[in-house]
C-alpha cells in the first residue's frame, strides 16, 4: 500500500508498504529517518517516541496506515539545519548522553513536557519521563538536562 503523511513539515510518500509495518519501520527504513529508535518495538521503552499530530506516541505501536494524512515530527525535525533545539543542547551539555540509544525518545518526551509545563519540579519530570528507559545513565544527568533545558527556554 501507499502511505502519505507530513513528516517534519514535508509531505512524504512511501510505496509498497506491507500493511503490518509500523510507523517506526516506515520512518527508519523507507523515509531515511532512523532517529526514532528500535529498542523494544513493543511500546515499553519510549526510544521510538515521535509526535503524531502534536502528541507524543510510540511510533512502534502506530501502524503505518494510521499515519496516513497526518503530521509526524521526529527528533530530526525538532531543529532546523545546523541548530539544536534547547532540549537537544541541554542533553549534550549536561552529559546526559552515553550510548545515546534512548536519547531521541527522551528528547521528544522532554520537548513535549516543557511545552506543557515550562517549569516542572523533579517529581513531575520523573512522572513525565517514566515511559522512557535508559540503561546507561541512571537518569541523574537526564534530570540535569531537563532542568537545564527548562532554564534555557525560560531565558530565551
Amino acid at each position: 500500500m501507499r502511505v502519505t503523511c507530513t513528516v517534519n513539515g514535508e509531505q512524504r510518500t512511501a510505496d509498497d508498504v506491507w500493511p503490518g509495518e509500523s510507523l517506526l519501520f516506515v520512518l527508519r527504513e523507507r523515509l531515511g529517518l532512523p532517529g526514532a529508535k528500535n529498542a523494544c518495538e513493543q511500546g515499553e521503552c519510549g526510544s521510538c517516541t515521535v509526535y503524531l499530530d502534536g502528541l507524543p506516541v510510540c511510533s512502534c505501536l502506530v501502524a503505518a496506515g494510521q499515519a496516513e494524512g497526518r503530521e509526524v515530527v521526529t527528533v530530526e525535525g525538532l531543529a532546523a539545519d545546523e541548530a539544536l533545539d534547547p532540549v537537544q543542547q541541554a542533553f549534550v551539555d549536561a552529559g546526559a548522553v552515553q550510548c545515546g540509544f534512548c536519547t531521541p525518545g527522551l528528547i521528544v518526551a522532554t520537548h513535549d513536557l516543557l511545552a506543557r509545563e515550562p517549569h516542572p519540579d523533579d517529581v513531575t519530570i520523573r512522572e513525565a519521563l517514566a515511559g522512557n528507559l535508559c540503561r546507561c545513565t541512571g537518569y541523574e544527568k537526564i534530570l540535569d538536562a531537563v532542568r537545564l533545558a527548562a532554564d534555557a527556554q525560560a531565558s530565551r
Partner: protein
C-alpha cells in the same frame, strides 16, 4: 582530592600542567553528542544499502533436543527468499567461543538451549524472512534438559560436552592449612548463609544488529556493534574459512553493551548470508530475540561461612560458589576466577577457603556482564557481613570499617595491594552523608512505594538503611597478554596543527571517544583532535570490558602521542639548536621549560606528517596456582561503597529506594563528568538486580523475554544519588587512573538489600527481592528484627 560535584573539583592534570582545554581532567562534551541528540548517529540497526536483504534466524524452541531432520525446500520456494542456510552451509569450522570453541554457528544434530540458532534466511523484507522461517521443517527429538548446576558439581547429570559439565573449578586456599582443617575452632563467632543470585540481563537498548557486505576479493566487510573487533574477526574468519585479512570489521554505533556484546551474535550469520547471496545483508534482532541472542549474567548459588573474633575481626571466610554457565562456555572460566579470587570481598581475611565452579547446563548461556563474577560474590559476602554485625551487635558500617582492605594488605590470592585501597574511608564517607528526611505530614503519593498506583498513603511503610562495599579487578587477569594499539598522526591542515587518533577500541557509550581526544590534547598541546572510527585496519585494542579501556587504550594513545611528541621536539631542537630535554608541546607550539613559545607546530611541520603506532601493555600478571589459587593474577583493584535508604510497603511488598549514595576511588578522573555518569549508571544496574531484574528460567525455558516482563529501573525507580569521588592516584597506571565502570554495579545491590532487611527484618537471601519475599506469605527467617515505622505517627 575528593569532590561530590564536578564544579567543586580542583583543576585537573591539564590545568595543573598549564595544558590544553579539553585535555585530561577536563570534562569536554562528547564529540558524538550532537549527532546523537539529532538522531543522526549511525547505530548498527540504522545501516542501509541499495539492494540490501534482511537476514533472520530460526532458533530452537527446546532447551535440549536431538535434531533428526531439517528441510528447507518450502522456505526457499517462497517468493522474495534469496537463501536458506543450515549448518551444512557453514564454510569454515562450525564452532566458536571466547575461551573454548564449543558453540556451533548453526546447530548440527543437537541443540543445548532454547533459542540456539539452527537456520538462517535472507529475504527482501523482514516479514518475508519471518514467513520463510516458519516454513523450515525441523524434527526434534526432545531430551531431558539439565537445569540444576549443582548436578554438574556432583557429577550426577549426563555430560553436555566432552569433558563433563564443570567448565572450571577454582580453589582458593589462603592462610594456614592447619586452620583450614577446622576454621570454626579458631573463631569466636561464626555465621552461615546460603544465597542465590538470579539471572540478570544486560538489557542494552540497541539490539544486536549489523550489515554484512560481500567484497569483490571474496572477503566480507562487516559493520557491527560489538565490544572487541579483533576477537570478532578471528572468530568470524574461522567460521567462514577465510583469512583474517579478508574479514574487515568496522564499528557501527553501539547502543550499550555491558558485556553482552563480547560473544558473537549475528556476525557470522550475516556474513554467511551476504557471501551466499552476493548482496548486502542486514540483521536486526527484536527485543525478544535479543534475550535469546546474547549471554547473561551467571546465576549463582553460594554457601558462605564467616568466622570472626569477638571484636569483629574476620578470622576466616569459607565459601562454595556455583555459577551456572548454561549451554556453552562463553567467558565462564574468567567469571569463575573473578568470583573465586574476589570472593572474600574487600576485607583483610587471614584464612580463605573458596571453591568456585562454573557449569554447563541446558539453561541460557551466561558470560560477561558488568561486574563479571564480582557481583554475585558481593551479594554473598556482604550479606554475611551484615549477619556478622548482627551477631556481634555492631553497626554494619563499623564491621566493614574494622576489616576493610588498605594499601599494603594482601588479598585472598596473596597479592599485595600496592596502590590505594581505601575501603574503610569509602564506608565512612557514605555513612557521613546526610540521610534523607523522613516524610512530614501527608506525603506526596509519587514519593511512596507504589507511586501513583495509590497503594498507600504512608500506612504500612517502613524505612531502612543498608551498606555495601565491593572489590573488582581492572583489566584482564591471569597472565593474559592484555594490550592495546594506537596510531596517532600529527599534521597541519589549513594552517592549524591537527591530530588524528586511530584505535580499534570500542566506544559503547562510556565516553572512550572523548577520552582519547583528551589524552591527545594533553600530550600534544593541540586543540583539534579527531578520533577515527574504530576498525580492524589498525591493531587490536582488546575488549571494551573489565573497566580496562581508559587504562589500556588510554595508555596506548598516551604512548603513541609521546612518541610523536618526541619526534617533534627533536626536530625543533635540531632546527633551532636547542636542548631537546627542555622542550615540550603546548598550545599548538613547541615551548621551552618556562612555557615560552619556541616555534609554532604549523611552522615547524609544514607539510610533514608525524605518525606513530604503538602497542602498549600494562604490567604483567601471573596465573593462579591450581591448588591454592595464589598468584599476582590481577592488574589493579577498584573499590566502591554504597549506602541505600529504602521505604517498604510491608503490606504489598513494594520497595521504593529513597537514596543510593556512593563513594568510589577513581585514581584520577580523566573526565570527571563521565566518571559520575558511570557511577550513576552502574549503581542503577545494581539496584535493578536488587529489586526487579531477573530472566526467569523454568525447565530451561525463558519465561519473560520482553521489556514488559523483564523490568529494568525507570526514572521513577532511581533515587537522586549523592556521589563522593576520591582521587588517590595509582602510580602504576596511566595518569594514576583506576577503572571506574564496574565497581558501582557491585556494591549497590547488597546495599539496597541490606536496607530492605533493616526495614523489614526479613532474611532476604536471594536477589532480586520480590514482593512475595516481603509480605507475610514467606517466613521472616533468621535475624529478624522489629520494623520501625518510617512514616506517620
Amino acid at each position: 582530592m575528593t569532590w561530590t560535584d564536578v564544579t567543586e573539583r580542583p583543576g585537573g592534570v591539564a590545568a595543573g600542567a598549564g595544558g590544553t582545554a579539553g585535555g585530561v581532567g577536563d570534562s569536554p562534551t562528547r564529540p558524538d553528542g550532537t549527532l546523537k541528540v539529532r538522531g543522526e548517529f549511525a547505530y548498527s540497526s540504522d545501516l542501509w544499502m541499495d539492494g540490501m536483504l534482511w537476514g533472520a534466524t530460526l532458533r530452537s524452541p527446546h532447551p535440549h533436543a536431538r535434531i533428526t531432520r531439517i528441510e528447507t525446500a518450502r522456505a526457499l520456494a517462497l517468493t522474495g527468499v534469496f537463501a536458506v542456510l543450515t549448518h551444512e552451509d557453514v564454510p569454515g569450522v562450525n564452532a566458536y567461543g571466547l575461551e573454548h570453541k564449543d558453540q556451533p554457528v548453526l546447530a548440527e544434530d543437537r541443540v543445548r538451549y532454547q533459542g540456539e540458532p539452527v537456520a538462517l534466511v535472507a529475504a527482501d523484507h523482514p516479514e518475508t524472512a519471518r514467513r520463510a522461517l516458519a516454513l523450515i521443517e525441523i524434527d526434534y527429538e526432545e531430551l531431558e534438559p539439565v537445569t540444576d548446576p549443582r548436578t554438574a558439581v556432583d557429577g550426577s547429570a549426563p555430560p553436555l560436552h566432552p569433558g563433563g559439565n564443570v567448565v572450571r573449578h577454582v580453589r582458593i586456599r589462603h592462610g594456614d592449612p592447619q586452620v583450614h582443617e577446622d576454621p570454626a575452632a579458631h573463631a569466636d563467632v561464626v555465621v552461615h548463609g546460603d544465597y542465590e543470585v538470579g539471572m540478570q540481563d544486560q538489557a542494552f537498548l540497541g539490539p544486536e544488529s549489523g550489515l554484512a557486505v560481500p567484497a569483490p576479493d571474496g572477503g566480507v566487510d562487516l559493520y557491527v556493534a560489538t565490544q572487541w573487533l579483533h576477537v570478532d574477526r578471528g572468530q568470524v574468519a574461522h567460521a567462514l574459512g577465510l583469512d583474517e585479512e579478508l574479514v574487515r570489521i568496522t564499528l557501527a554505533g553501539v547502543g550499550g553493551a555491558f558485556g553482552a556484546r563480547e560473544d558473537l551474535s549475528m556476525q557470522v550469520h550475516a556474513c554467511m548470508l551476504a557471501l551466499r547471496t552476493r548482496r548486502p545483508v542486514k540483521m536486526v534482532y527484536s527485543r525478544e530475540e535479543s534475550f535469546f541472542g546474547h549471554v547473561h549474567r551467571h546465576p549463582a548459588r553460594m554457601r558462605y561461612e564467616h568466622g570472626a573474633t569477638r571484636d569483629g575481626r574476620l578470622v576466616y571466610v569459607k565459601a562454595e560458589i556455583v555459577l551456572d554457565g548454561g549451554a556453552y562456555a562463553s567467558s565462564t572460566p574468567a567469571v569463575v576466577a573473578n568470583a573465586a579470587t574476589l570472593g572474600a570481598g574487600p576485607y583483610v581475611v587471614p584464612h580463605v577457603i573458596i571453591d568456585c565452579y562454573g557449569t554447563y547446563t541446558n539453561n541460557p548461556p551466561c558470560g560477561a556482564m558488568r561486574g563479571f563474577g564480582a557481583v554475585q560474590a558481593a551479594f554473598g559476602y556482604e550479606s554475611q557481613m551484615d549477619r556478622l554485625a548482627d551477631e556481634l551487635g555492631l553497626d554494619p558500617a563499623e564491621v566493614r570499617i574494622r576489616n576493610g582492605l588498605t594499601e599494603g594488605d594482601r588479598v585472598a590470592t596473596g597479592q599485595l595491594l600496592d596502590s590505594a585501597a581505601p575501603v574503610a574511608e569509602l564506608v565512612r564517607r557514605v555513612r557521613e552523608m546526610p540521610l534523607p528526611a523522613a516524610p512530614q505530614g501527608v506525603p506526596d503519593l509519587r514519593t511512596l512505594p507504589g507511586g501513583v498506583a495509590n497503594t498507600t498513603h504512608g500506612e504500612g511503610v517502613v524505612r531502612g538503611v543498608g551498606y555495601g562495599v565491593g572489590i573488582k579487578n581492572i583489566c584482564f587477569s591471569e597472565g593474559f597478554d592484555d594490550y592495546s594499539t594506537a596510531r596517532v598522526r600529527l599534521a597541519v591542515a589549513a594552517g592549524e596543527p591537527v591530530v588524528l587518533v586511530h584505535t580499534a577500541a570500542v566506544e559503547v557509550g562510556q565516553g572512550l571517544v572523548t577520552l582519547q581526544g583528551q589524552i591527545a590534547r594533553t600530550e600534544l598541546g593541540v586543540r583539534q583532535v579527531t578520533v577515527q572510527t574504530a576498525d580492524t585496519s589498525v591493531g587490536s585494542a582488546g575488549s571494551t570490558s573489565a573497566s580496562r579501556q581508559s587504562y589500556v587504550t588510554g595508555g596506548a594513545v598516551r604512548a603513541a602521542c609521546q612518541e610523536v611528541a618526541a619526534v617533534v621536539r627533536r626536530h625543533a631542537a635540531e632546527r633551532l639548536g636547542l636542548d631537546v630535554t627542555r622542550l615540550r608541546l603546548a598550545s599548538g607550539a613547541v615551548v621551552d621549560a618556562d612555557g615560552t613559545e619556541v616555534v609554532g607546530l604549523a611552522e615547524l611541520l609544514g607539510d610533514e606528517v608525524v605518525e606513530r603506532t604503538v602497542e602498549w601493555r600494562h604490567r604483567p600478571t601471573t596465573t593462579l596456582d591450581p591448588d591454592t589459587g595464589q598468584g599476582d593474577a590481577h592488574v589493579q583493584f577498584a573499590f566502591a561503597a554504597h549506602r541505600a535508604v529504602v521505604d517498604v510497603d510491608v503490606e504489598l511488598g513494594l520497595v521504593k529506594v529513597v537514596a543510593l549514595d556512593c563513594a568510589q576511588d577513581v585514581g584520577t578522573a580523566i573526565h570527571p563528568d563521565a566518571v559520575l555518569g558511570q557511577i550513576h549508571g552502574g549503581s542503577a544496574q545494581g539496584l535493578g538486580l536488587a529489586v526487579m531484574e531477573e530472566i526467569q528460567v523454568v525447565d530451561g525455558l525463558v519465561r519473560n523475554p520482553s521489556f514488559t516482563d523483564y523490568l529494568i529501573p525507570t526514572v521513577l525507580d532511581m533515587p537522586p544519588m549523592r556521589v563522593d569521588v576520591l582521587e588517590l592516584a595509582d602510580p602504576h597506571a596511566p595518569y594514576g587512573l583506576r577503572g571506574v565502570g564496574e565497581p558501582p554495579t557491585i556494591s549497590s545491590t547488597p546495599a539496597v538489600v541490606a536496607a530492605i532487611r533493616a526495614a523489614t527484618g526479613r532474611a532476604l537471601t536471594r536477589v532480586p527481592v520480590r514482593p512475595e519475599h516481603l509480605v507475610a506469605l514467606a517466613p521472616a527467617g533468621a535475624g529478624a528484627r522489629t520494623p520501625e515505622p518510617a512514616v506517620g505517627d
